[in-house]
């Protein structure tokens, strides 16, 4: 058996919604105060459990969007049209509401400044959320690790954290932020404009020789395409960490 430390049991705690921000028309960041929160690493997630008046319960996992900050845990949730939990979180939850959470969960798809870099972050849609936690951890720790953040979204109004990313890309040395828009582009768009492919990674991601750790998160076809392209370019599969989510859930 590995390890000697007693694992902490993950118990459900009642968290309070202390604030929220609409990130786009379909996505919202929610700040939860979780009593007794033990802290977490960027990239980890929490489970949320909702209970209806008739006793029906539903659970879903959501990536944490920001590094550890005492009892505060931020999640960013994108609405899934026919979803069961995400519409409630994005549209119904109000300040002061209480929901059950447990976590943090996951220990593989994580990054902290001591793990070094370079750090190649590639996210599709709301798959950028755990990557944003890593970028925010890098910036708030004033780490010198070089980071390239590449997000893929259908259109500009679907890009999460756009203004914060613009600020980080402009002001923080060693961080490059790039967006690619796959369906529609505004006039004068000067970013990338197709799905992430091997050519794009060759031109804009860290080279194989720089031995980056790559984190890829998004819907399954996105992650399959990007991680396969990274491996085809010569990146060590052991340095390509992935997290996938299907079209269902939420």
């Amino acid at each position: 058996m590995d390890g000697t430390a007693l694992p902490r049991r993950l118990t459900w705690v009642v968290a309070e919604v202390v604030s929220s921000v609409d990130e786009t028309r379909r996505a919202r960041s929610i700040v939860l105060r979780c009593p007794g929160w033990p802290g977490h690493l960027a990239g980890q997630h929490i489970d949320i459990r909702l209970t209806a008046e008739d006793g029906y319960q539903a659970q879903r996992s959501y990536s944490i969007a920001a590094p550890a900050d005492g009892e505060y845990v931020v999640i960013t949730v994108e609405l899934i049209e026919d979803g069961e939990v995400s519409p409630y979180l994005v549209e119904d939850l109000v300040m002061g509401d209480r929901i059950e959470v447990r976590g943090p969960i996951g220990g593989y798809f994580v990054w902290e400044p001591s793990l070094g870099g370079p750090l190649q972050l590639i996210g599709g849609g709301s798959g950028v959320v755990p990557l944003m936690a890593m970028l925010r951890a890098r910036v708030s720790a004033d780490s010198q690790v070089p980071v390239r953040y590449l997000s893929s979204a259908r259109s500009l109004d679907r890009v999460l954290f756009r203004s914060e990313l613009a600020r980080i890309g402009r002001d923080v040395d060693g961080v490059e932020v790039l967006h690619t828009l796959t369906r529609t582009r505004p006039d004068g768009w000067d970013g990338l404009e197709r799905r992430v492919d091997a050519d794009m990674l060759q031109s804009h991601a860290f080279a194989v020789s720089e031995r980056p750790t790559c984190f890829v998160c998004g819907p399954t076809p996105f992650v399959e395409a990007v991680s396969s392209a990274l491996v085809a370019l010569g990146h060590d599969p052991g340095r390509v960490k992935t997290e996938r989510f299907g079209p269902t859930g939420g």
């Binding site: 058996m1 590995d2 390890g3 694992p7 902490r8 049991r9 993950l10 009642v14 489970d47 459990r49 909702l50 209970t51 209806a52 008046e53 008739d54 029906y56 319960q57 539903a58 659970q59 879903r60 996992s61 026919d82 979803g83 069961e84 409630y88 119904d92 509401d97 209480r98 929901i99 059950e100 969960i105 996951g106 220990g107 593989y108 798809f109 399954t220 399959e224 991680s227 396969s228 990274l230 491996v231 599969p237 052991g238 390509v240 960490k241 992935t242 997290e243 996938r244 989510f245 299907g246 079209p247 269902t248 859930g249």
Partner: protein, 201 residues
């Protein structure tokens, strides 16, 4: 008594008999994918499956040899720890019993090892006695790489991370060594009906 989230209600998307859906799960008609790294691509001519016992006895099957064993069609419900369940999935595979049948007492535990480095641990009694298969077909087709092809373990009575994709070794021993997700705090056993998601559940 759990907290009530006012205004939250069930939105049934797939009708399912409640006795087939473990606690905390929802039923999906899709087949989501979950894995920690890039999908390994293994050519059938290079594929092999090794089975080794605690006593050090080892048997290896090539793809051709595995394909020549009697296979079964298995119709089962599967449950992923990420909360989705999928009912009546149809697989083609070889019973693990047929791989270990000639070995006397392989060992009390097994560590399944996969192409790409994934591992997961199970009690031997959970993969023998008609409870587990090495599956290479899904829904009448060869098993797709993203779902674990050429072949994966199928242990439908436990959460799906125990059904190691891209399996290439069943390493029996008399000590229980944690696999990949188990060492990150996921449950050692993973019974969906007991909701054993994380260690301590």
């Amino acid at each position: 008594m759990a907290l009530i989230n006012r205004g939250f209600r069930r939105r049934n998307r797939v009708d399912a008999p409640p006795d087939r859906v473990p606690p905390g799960q929802y039923v999906t008609a899709d087949f989501p994918v979950l894995s920690a790294g890039p999908t390994p691509r293994v050519r059938l001519e290079e594929w092999s499956l090794s089975v080794s016992t605690a006593a050090g006895q080892e048997t290896r099957w090539s793809w051709e040899e595995l394909s020549s064993l009697p296979s079964e069609t298995i119709t089962v419900d599967i449950h992923c720890v990420t909360k989705w369940s999928k009912l009546d999935t149809v697989w083609q595979g070889v019973s693990v019993d047929d791989l270990v049948g000639d070995m006397d007492d392989p060992g009390a535990f097994v560590l399944a090892r996969s192409y790409g480095g994934y591992t997961t641990n199970l009690p031997t009694s959970d993969i023998t006695g008609g409870k587990a298969w090495v599956a290479f077909g899904y829904d009448g087709e060869p098993l797709a790489a993203e779902h674990g092809g050429p072949a994966r373990l199928l242990v439908p009575h436990l959460y799906l991370w125990k059904s190691a994709k891209w399996v290439n070794e069943l390493q029996f021993s008399n000590s229980d060594r944690r696999g990949f997700w188990e060492s990150y705090g996921y449950h050692d056993y993973g019974d969906p009906w007991m909701e054993q998601r994380y260690r301590g559940d």
